[in-house]
Point group: C2
Chain length 144, copies 2
């Protein structure tokens, strides 16, 4: 029921808060955690379009930063006794989350209620709301 | 973290599916469960407005049915070792859920993604979506 969890994160504070809940779910049978960070392709496109010659370096740096963050989370969860595995995908966050949900055959999604890009979410609705609407599996939404 | 759970139910199939998740959360520290059924006051008003002389009997019967259902759930959860308590409130479901969340100082809400009134929800968005948006505590949404 809680055996394999998908944990999408954009490293926001509420995403990090969700980590504590993941740990607590261990006693309820959680074993495997797939950590997912999606690099928003629309952001990349915008940088590439309007950016200077340093854009490529910037994008590469962004990916490196993300890799460092997910590896840290992976290590932390492994220390708690989970089978943890990190994935970085490039795409539209909602779409990638639903794709990985299917691909990994998870049994639960644990997600923060709001991402870092707060203003956009206030206008468009948060990614987590859309995940709740469209996911096949139960979703635990952690609030700020 | 999962100690006191609010479980709003309209007795739909997905609400009942949520019960299995509640049971599983026991090992993660769930102790107390508040079962909440809201009798939608708008429905009552409509019945009273357009109903025949039998309306009052009908409303009373509806409440009795609800009471029977929540007592059955309460018994089931108590058998699993929970401190369970049922509440029936009259009002707007979203508003009552948020009010009881506050009043009972729960630490988690477990709710089915869709209610029985499916067509209305398809047009207006589901109660669970609104609960996710406005609750103060984490929300576990169980999908059909």
């Amino acid at each position: 029921m809680f055996a394999k969890i998908l944990y999408p994160t954009d490293f926001s504070d509420v995403s990090k808060k969700a980590l504590a809940y993941l740990r607590r779910l261990k006693d309820a049978g959680a074993k495997e955690i797939v950590i997912l960070h999606v690099i928003d392709e629309r952001k990349i496109e915008a940088i590439a379009l309007y950016g200077t010659s340093g854009s490529f370096v910037f994008i590469e740096k962004m990916e490196q930063e993300a890799r460092k963050e997910v590896i840290a989370i992976e290590g932390e969860l492994k220390k708690c006794g989970f089978e943890a595995r990190a994935r970085i995908e490039m795409g539209i966050p909602l779409r990638e989350i639903l794709r990985v949900e299917e691909e990994e055959k998870v049994s639960l999604i644990v997600i923060g209620s709001h991402g870092k890009t707060n203003i956009k979410e206030m206008l468009m609705g948060s990614v987590s709301e859309k995940v709740v609407r469209r996911a096949k599996n139960p979703v635990l939404v952690i609030k700020r």
